[in-house]
C-alpha cells in the first residue's frame, strides 16, 4: 500500500506545477489537467440524439466536425445539468482503447479558472466518500483551503465504457434482447 502511494506521488512529482482548469458542477468544484483540453465554447445549438443514455446530451457542430456532448453531472449518476447562461462545453481530446483520438464535449455548469496546482498540494483520492466513482478521481487538490476533485479524464470519458453503457441503456430495445 505504502509502495503504491509513493509511486503515485513520484508520478505526480514529475508533472510538477501542472496547470488545471477548474469548473463548477452544481456547488462542487472539479479540476481537469489542461493538457487534454482543446477549447471551451458556449453551450448552444445542440442536436439531441435519441435513444441514448441520459449522460449523452447530443451532438454539436464544431466547425464542421460532429462532436458528442457528455453531461458530466449525469455521467456521475446525478441529475442532468440544468442549462443556464453560464453553461459551457469543454472540448476534450479523448482516446479510445485502440488508440484513436476523438473529441468529446463536456457539459459543465460554470468554468472558473486555470490554476497552477503544485503536486505537493494534491492528495491521493479517498477510497470512498467522494460520492463519485473512485476510479474517476485522479487526486484531491487543495485550493484556497478547500478540496477540489481532480478528474481522471481517461476514465470519465472512456469511449469504450460509455458505448457499452449506451448499448445496455433501456431505450436501446433491440440490443437488449439480443
Amino acid at each position: 500500500m505504502g509502495a503504491i502511494a509513493t509511486t503515485r506521488q513520484a508520478a505526480i512529482a514529475v508533472e510538477e506545477d501542472a496547470q488545471y482548469l477548474t469548473f463548477m458542477l452544481g456547488t462542487e468544484m472539479f479540476a481537469i489537467g489542461i493538457l487534454c483540453i482543446k477549447e471551451i465554447i458556449e453551450y448552444g445549438n445542440l442536436t439531441v440524439v435519441p435513444m441514448m443514455p441520459a449522460f449523452v446530451r447530443g451532438v454539436i457542430n464544431l466547425r464542421g466536425a460532429v462532436v458528442p456532448v457528455v453531461d458530466l453531472s449525469a455521467r456521475f449518476g446525478r441529475q442532468n445539468s440544468a442549462i443556464t447562461r453560464r453553461s459551457c462545453v469543454v472540448i476534450i481530446e479523448a482516446s479510445t482503447e485502440d488508440g484513436h483520438a476523438q473529441d468529446i464535449g463536456l457539459l459543465v455548469d460554470t468554468v472558473s479558472a486555470v490554476l497552477e496546482i503544485p503536486a505537493s498540494q494534491i492528495e491521493p483520492p479517498p477510497s470512498f466518500g467522494a460520492k463519485i466513482r473512485a476510479d474517476f478521481i485522479s487526486g484531491m487538490a487543495k485550493v484556497d483551503g478547500k478540496f477540489v476533485i481532480v478528474l481522471e479524464v481517461d476514465r470519465v470519458l472512456s469511449i469504450d465504457e460509455m458505448s457499452q453503457l449506451a448499448q445496455a441503456s433501456p431505450t436501446a430495445l433491440e440490443v437488449e434482447t439480443q
Partner: protein
C-alpha cells in the same frame, strides 16, 4: 540516396503489379485471339519492363525468373513458338509467380516459401521446353552468371551522357552501371565532366556526368542497349562494337545521329557495327519502330494521370463538404439581409461550390472496368475447373464509380460470378440437350441509372428452381406454410442466411454461406441487390449502388426542433395527415393508403421527443425491401444533398440512425437508417404481440 531508392522501389512494386495486370489481360486476349501481335507485344513489354526495373534494384530472383519468361516471349514474338493453350496456361502461372516474387519484395521478405520455390522450378522446366535448343540461346541464358563465354565475348565502346533530369526522374546512373556489369565486365571507365558548370550555376539536383566505358561482354548490341531503356528518353547513348568496324553500317549510324540534334526528341543513338547472329534479329531499324510507340504511349499516360495519395483526396473532399455547408450558411444569411447584390453574389458562390463538389467527387471516381477485367481470369480458371465452356462478356467497363465502392464490390461480384458458373450455367451436355449452344455466356454489365450505378451479372443457364427454393424455404420456416409469395419474393429468398439449394457442396460454392454475405456487403455500401430468373433462360442479378459514399441525397423532415434526414431513394411519397385522420390512425397504428394497409411509425414517440406534436402532421412513406411504412413527422423540409459525417464510436450501438450531417444553419441533423429502423420496429412489435397469441393457443 538510399531513401530515394526506397521510394523508387515502392513505385517499382506498384508499377510492376500494374504491368502484371496488363500482362494477364493481354494473355487472356491472346488466348481468345492467338494471332494478336499487339497482345504479344504488350506481354513482352510488360515482362521486359519488370525485368529491367527489377535489375535496377538488384532483385536477382525476379530478374532471373523473368528472364526465362522473356526469352520464351521473345521467341513467341519472332514467331518461332506457336501460341497454344499450354503456353498460355504456363505463362499465366508465370505471371502469378512473378506477382508472388514482387510481393516478397513488397513485404521485405528475404525468400520465397519452399512450395513457391518448387513451383518456380516446375515453371522453369516447362518454360525451358519452349526455349530454343539452339546454341545461341544457351550462352544467352547463362550470360548473367557466366560472362566469360570466350567465343562470343567482344569489346564494346559505350558512350553515356545522362540528361540533367535523370535524378529528378528517380533514376540513379550508378544502378545502370551496376546492371551493366551483370552482362559483362567493365574494363575501363572514364567519367566525363566537361558538362559540369561553374559552382554558381551548379544545381545539385541535376546530373552533369557522362561515362566512357570499355565493356567486354558476350551480350549482343540489343541486350546492352536494353540496359538503358529507362533513361533512353533524356540521355545520349552510343554503343559501338570496336572490334572491326564495317563502313556501310557506319553511315547508318551517322544518319541516326543527325536526327538527335533536335533536343526535344529522344536522344538515342544506336549503332551496330558488327552484325552477329543474335543482333541480326534486332537491327536498330527494327527495334526503333517497335519501341517508339511504346514509349510515347507511356508518356501520354504519364501526362494524363497523376498519382495522388487517397488520403489527400479524402481530405480535399472533406474540405469541399465543409465549403458546401459554409456556403449554404452564407446564402441563408444573405436571404435574411434583403440585399439583392449580396444574394446574387452568394448564389454565384454556391453555384461554383457545387461545381467544385462535383469535380472533387469525380476525382475519386474510377472506371469499374479494371475490376471487371480481373474476372476474366477467374472465369477462365473456374470454367476449366468445372469442365464447362464459359465466355465472359463485359460491357459498360468505362462506367465510373467511387473508389471505395469499387474496392468493396469486388468480393461480392466474385461470389456472384462463381455462383453463376457453378450453379447457373449447365454442363455442355445439359445445354445441348436443352437446345442451347454448348458454350455458356456470362454477361457483366454496368450502367448509370438515376443517380446510382447498376451492376448486372447475367447468365444464360438453367435459371433458379422456383419450387425447390420454396420447398427449402418452407422447410426452414422462412415462408409460412400456405403462403403464396410472388416469384420475385421467392427468388430473393436465396439471399437469406444459410440458404442453399445445391445438393452437393463443391469447393466453389454450395455451402449456403455467401449469398447472405453478398447481400450484407452490398447493404453496407447503401446498395440493394435483386434477382430475376427465367426457368431455362438464365438468371440476372442486379446490384444497385450509390455513386459515392460521401454524399447522400436526403429528404429533410422536422420533429419539433430537431431535423432528420431520410435517404431519398427510400422515400416513396409524402401525404398530409389531417387532424381527423390523425386521431383515427393514431388509435389503429396504421393508415389506409389507397386500399393498402400502411403501418405508421410515430418518430416523435419512437425517439422520445418531448413536447406536443404539431396539429398538422405528415406521413413520409418509405420502403425498404418488402417492408413499407409511414413515418409520421411534423414538417416536411424538402430535398437536400448532403455530406455524411459518421457519428463515431460512442454511438456505435445506436440503431436506426446511420450518421449525421450539418445543415446550412450550422445545426446537426441525424440521418435515419431506414432498414435498421423498420427491422427494429418490426422486432419490438413482434415481441409485444406474439406472446399473448401463444398463450391463447396454449389455453
Amino acid at each position: 540516396m538510399s531513401i530515394n531508392l526506397d521510394q523508387a522501389q515502392q513505385t517499382f512494386i506498384v508499377e510492376a503489379r500494374e504491368q502484371l495486370q496488363a500482362m494477364e489481360e493481354s494473355l487472356l486476349q491472346l488466348e481468345s485471339d492467338p494471332g494478336d501481335d499487339d497482345a504479344i507485344g504488350a506481354i513482352f513489354r510488360a515482362a521486359h519492363t519488370i525485368k529491367g526495373s527489377a535489375g535496377l534494384f538488384g532483385l536477382e530472383p525476379i530478374v532471373s525468373f523473368t528472364h526465362i519468361v522473356e526469352d520464351v516471349l521473345d521467341r513467341l514474338r519472332n514467331g518461332s513458338v506457336e501460341v497454344d493453350a499450354g503456353l498460355i496456361a504456363v505463362l499465366l502461372k508465370s505471371s502469378d509467380h512473378m506477382l508472388e516474387l514482387i510481393n516478397v519484395v513488397a513485404n521485405q521478405g528475404a525468400k520465397l516459401a519452399p512450395p513457391a520455390l518448387a513451383r518456380e522450378m516446375e515453371l522453369c522446366q516447362i518454360l525451358q521446353e519452349y526455349q530454343t535448343p539452339s546454341p545461341v540461346q544457351a550462352p544467352k541464358a547463362a550470360e548473367a552468371s557466366d560472362p566469360q563465354a570466350p567465343a562470343e565475348t567482344r569489346l564494346w565502346h559505350i558512350v553515356l551522357r545522362f540528361g540533367p533530369e535523370v535524378f529528378r526522374n528517380g533514376m540513379d546512373p550508378l544502378s545502370f552501371l551496376r546492371y551493366l556489369q551483370t552482362l559483362g565486365e567493365i574494363i575501363h571507365i572514364t567519367t566525363l565532366t566537361d558538362a559540369m558548370p561553374s559552382a554558381e550555376t551548379w544545381d545539385a539536383e541535376s546530373c552533369y556526368l557522362g561515362f566512357d566505358i570499355e565493356f567486354s561482354s558476350a551480350a549482343g548490341h540489343g541486350a546492352i542497349n536494353e540496359v538503358f531503356d529507362f533513361v533512353r528518353e533524356d540521355c545520349q547513348i552510343q554503343i559501338v562494337a570496336i572490334d572491326d568496324p564495317v563502313p556501310p553500317m557506319n553511315t547508318g549510324l551517322v544518319a541516326t545521329f543527325q536526327e538527335q540534334d533536335d533536343p526535344n526528341t529522344a536522344m538515342v543513338t544506336t549503332g551496330q557495327l558488327m552484325p552477329d547472329q543474335r543482333s541480326a534479329a534486332r537491327m536498330p531499324a527494327q527495334v526503333t519502330p517497335d519501341k517508339q510507340p511504346a514509349t510515347s504511349d507511356g508518356k501520354a499516360k504519364d501526362g494524363a494521370y497523376v498519382r495522388v495519395n487517397a488520403d489527400k483526396l479524402d481530405e480535399l473532399i472533406n474540405l469541399v463538404g465543409e465549403l458546401v455547408i459554409a456556403s449554404a450558411g452564407a446564402s441563408l444569411l444573405a436571404r435574411h439581409c434583403n440585399d439583392d447584390s449580396l444574394q446574387e453574389s452568394t448564389s454565384t458562390v454556391s453555384g461554383l461550390v457545387e461545381e467544385i463538389l462535383d469535380g472533387a467527387l469525380r476525382l475519386r471516381m474510377i472506371p469499374i472496368g479494371e475490376t471487371f477485367n480481373r474476372f476474366r481470369r477467374v472465369v477462365r480458371d473456374v470454367s476449366q475447373e468445372l469442365g464447362k465452356d464459359i465466355d465472359l462478356i463485359i460491357s459498360g467497363a468505362e462506367t465510373e464509380l467511387d473508389k471505395t465502392v469499387v474496392e468493396k464490390i469486388g468480393d461480392p461480384l466474385m461470389h456472384l460470378l462463381r455462383n453463376a458458373m457453378d450453379h447457373g450455367i449447365e454442363t455442355a451436355e445439359a445445354r445441348l440437350a436443352a437446345g442451347k449452344p454448348a458454350k455458356g455466356h456470362l454477361h457483366l454489365n454496368a450502367y448509370h441509372d438515376s443517380g446510382s450505378i447498376v451492376l448486372e451479372i447475367a447468365d444464360d443457364g438453367a435459371g433458379l428452381n422456383r419450387d425447390r427454393i420454396l420447398e427449402k424455404a418452407q422447410e426452414r420456416g422462412l415462408v409460412a406454410p400456405g403462403a403464396s409469395p410472388s416469384d420475385q419474393e421467392i427468388y430473393n429468398l436465396i439471399f437469406e442466411p444459410g440458404f442453399s439449394t445445391a445438393q452437393a457442396v463443391t469447393n466453389l460454392s454450395g455451402r449456403g454461406v455467401g449469398m447472405d454475405v453478398v447481400k450484407r456487403n452490398i447493404t453496407l455500401l447503401r446498395g440493394t441487390v435483386d434477382l430475376d430468373s427465367q426457368p431455362g433462360q438464365g438468371t440476372v442479378v442486379r446490384i444497385r449502388l450509390p455513386l459515392t459514399l460521401a454524399i447522400i441525397n436526403g429528404f429533410l423532415v422536422g420533429i419539433g426542433q430537431s431535423t432528420y434526414v431520410i435517404p431519398l431513394d427510400m422515400v416513396q411519397e409524402c401525404i398530409e395527415l389531417s387532424e381527423d385522420d390523425g386521431v383515427c390512425s393514431r388509435e389503429q397504428g396504421y393508415l389506409d393508403l389507397r386500399g393498402e394497409v400502411l403501418p405508421l411509425v410515430y418518430l416523435r414517440d419512437h425517439f422520445n421527443h418531448e413536447g406536443p406534436a404539431s396539429r398538422r402532421q405528415n406521413v413520409v412513406v418509405v420502403r425498404y425491401a418488402e417492408l413499407k411504412a409511414g413515418l409520421v413527422v411534423d414538417d416536411l423540409l424538402g430535398e437536400f444533398q448532403t455530406v455524411i459525417k459518421p457519428l463515431g464510436k460512442l454511438f456505435g450501438a445506436l440503431r436506426g440512425i446511420s450518421g449525421s450531417t450539418i445543415l446550412g444553419s450550422g445545426a446537426v441533423a441525424l440521418i435515419l437508417d431506414v432498414p435498421a429502423l423498420l427491422t427494429q420496429i418490426a422486432q419490438t412489435d413482434n415481441r409485444y404481440t406474439t406472446p399473448p397469441l401463444q398463450q391463447a393457443t396454449v389455453r
